[in-house]
Amino acid sequence: MNQTRYVGRSLPRLDAAAKVTGEALFPGDLSMPDMAHMKVLFAHRPHARILRIDTSQAEALPGVLAVLTAKDVPVNSYGIAEFDQPVLCGEVVRFVGDRVALVVAETPEIARQACDLIEVEYEDLPVITGPEEALAPDAPLLHPEKGSNVLATFHVRKGDIEEGFAQADVIVEETYTMGMQEHAYLQPDAGLAWVDEDGYLVVKTGGQWAHDDRRQIAHSLDLPEDRIRVIYTYVGGAFGGREDVTVQVILALAAWKLRRPVKIVWSREETTIGHHKRHPMRIRHRWGATREGRIVAQETEILADAGAYASTSSYVVASTVLLSTGPYEVPNLWLDARAVYTNNIPCGAFRGFGVPQAMFAAEAHMARLADALGMDPVELRMRNGLEENSLTGTMAEIPPGLSVRETLEAAARRMGWELVDGEWRRPQIRREVRPGVVRGIGIASGWKNVGYTLGYPEQATVTVELHGEAEVERGVVRLATSEVGQGTHTTIAQMAAEALKLPLERIEIVYTDTAQTHSAGSVSASRMAFMAGNALLGAAREAYKAWDDEDRPAVATYTYRTPPTEPLDPETGHGKGAFAFAYLAQAVEVEVDTETGKVEVKRIVAAHDVGKAINPEIVEGQIEGGAIQALGWATLENFVMQDGEVLTPDLSTYLIPTVLDIPPDFETLILENPLPLGPWGATGVGEMGFLSIAPAIIDAVHDATGVWFNAIPLTPEKVLDRLKGEH
């Protein structure tokens, strides 16, 4: 292995000092002289026809500059995958966070007051509160032009399912359900937009993909993309929640109409109803295995609540489908999946992008299957893990970099599993911690694609400049990636220094500004380090070629493209959905208070094959952060929507883990089997920490109590109810 100077070192975070001193600016910190303030009038009702909007009183209020409604929007739609969401609703509102009007005023207080003066007359329509209702034959259609409430459908057929079940000695069928999850990123959505002296429309905010924000703004305002400039500040967390636009289009609209800088800062409540969530899903698994523990058949039905608009639902659910088998060889597979419109908040990207749901169901089901077979769950996984010559559920070959068994063995051993007479054995632990409190341990494997899937073009463009005369004195890198707290700017700087063969201090990096950078794709899908690293290596190579040709400065723009992927065949579901996978296993120890039903995770062991840790501390941070977010999803976070209304719009009612809810004992085992495609061998890590905590908890709670749970979150009252019911 070549010696590296920067790659592989835990350098301190480059953004840390600015953040702890308050020097770093976030979108809410922006201001300009003469700026106006905007407030959104949200629908606050889940489904209604708008009969009349009267803005006259609001407009008459002193200090109000403009009240904008549907008629003011040049092309009244936006959306990341489909332009299906009205910028401002003129006819129908389909969820509580739909926007009806914008008020721009001299102060935020006046804007707020004017909002209250807008009269909207609604006729309430029947509310579809969940996917089952949406599928009823007489259900009203949320998007009548689509002819159905079904947004996306997938079928996968591999082998012969009847034949498979005929070979099975044991068949286990269960239905798993998962709740909605809120990203709860620290920084509420905010931004500032203005028209600059050259007539460009500038939007400064935080997000995950500035170039796609620009595409959507251009569409809604009917402007050419090159009239628009999107710049990102530091971003206070994202987790997929800023993949869809929130304030970008409305800010652009207001600034363009008024020719004045316009600022908006959403409250926590507005942020909560104003952006998409993680999909609630119901997954039914019926799996068959031989007595020796060979999986022979998998029958699966997936139903996802997409909410009111498309967002990225069709891609999210496709990812659930793609990974639904878990990292196992399944010879016979029959799978149907649907994403369905409802009057709930739209669901879209959230760390793991549909794969946590797939892992929860598949891995909890593996634990059930092991139980039914009387076999250790690690042993069952070892017997079924993908092999290099396996075909995935969608009949694709396994890309190089398989480490399902290595990660499982690492996590299992650390948690006390042992090979006894050639078979894995769960450690025997004392169940009772103290009267009324029992302990258990559990484990789950996981896998996920790195980068975009299913034929979506996967590429990243970076520009490198080498300055100097006789020698390269300094480098400039232009790369559109947003620092959402994950450490990407540090990772990128380390890779840039390595690729450009320059000291870190002599490299300047220009980050997300569509006027100065090309698109590198979104900061999502565990892709940015992988994509940017490859693009940097390519651009550095080209720039040094230009340098050798005496170009001063030597400049190269390079686009890295991954091996292509394919969409799944609509009938058979066959297709090479992904170009690379990452593998992991996570084990937990839990305590269950049998009087209260409270489940507490006391210990986590997370084993991840990351290919190469560019910055080990950042990698560890991502894995820990993902795991704790999953711990929240599995035990604590309970997003309640009742009849289309949000009952948990703030952080006093929607509880996320605090620092004291993190298990005192958290161990990350980093494995480094270089990924041949990866820069310096690195694969993606951003989402992987999330994937298998929830099913590991299910396994551990069963180990502790003897009771299986199929639904998360495991709120104490649900746990107590089941424990008392069964005992």
Binding site: E109, T596, L647
Partner: protein, 276 residues
Amino acid sequence: MTTREYFLPRSLDEAVGLLAEHGPSLLVMSGGTLAMPLINEGVSMPEMVMGLRRAGLSYLERVNGSLIVGAATTLSQVVGFEAIPVLQEAAYNIGGWAIRNMGTVGGNLFAPPPGGDFAVALLALDAQLKLVSARGERTLPLAEFYTGFMTTALEPDELVAEIRVPVPAGRTAYLKYGRRHTNTPAVVTVAAHLVLNGKKVEDARLALNAVGPHPIRATQAEALLTGSTLDEETIAAAAAAAAEECEPFTDPIASAWYRRRMVNVFVRRALSQIAQ
């Protein structure tokens, strides 16, 4: 309408004078941890605000077997003042440090459920409130202060100036049960004060929070305890009685069904702690 005026009176006299002068259009703000979020969200748009920070109401003193606490004393000050451990414990169980550094003892009396985790301890200790207006002052037991959900016996021109807490004669316990470890809304909070003679209960105060319109006393359970021997059977009966008499509600944190069950569990745990 935006806030027109902000008063920062330098004494209690000045404060009650302003209150008498401006009446209900003047919003009283102590630590502001309840009031400010409402103002920021536009839920409340007071024309005038009076802060109590400088009104000389932040103090803790031990006077003849009682602890005297100024109404504007912060919860952090209480955490750091070693006089009555159960009060330190109660104060520590509210919010996180930022909330405790700003939030006050007086303000906690006005926190709608599941808030009131400090007040519930005061209730178990038979605290007395000193209410002051420009007309004069009166003393009211905390038990008589609450009149309903977000209503109290406070007159519109009165302020809570001071709280007098008798140093407990017996043993105390305080248990707050929430869904997470800190900064957590209560599923239920239990505060108990038992005067024992050997194993015999001579006097019992049992107060519950988050299972009623405001912090409440479990009087049936108290009656059951008083005069009994504090054994497992008595404890179980008192816990069951408290669960029976409380008036739990459903919110996104917990259902009424669950809250009632947890009253039983946590009253039993609190009493068992005292019995040990």
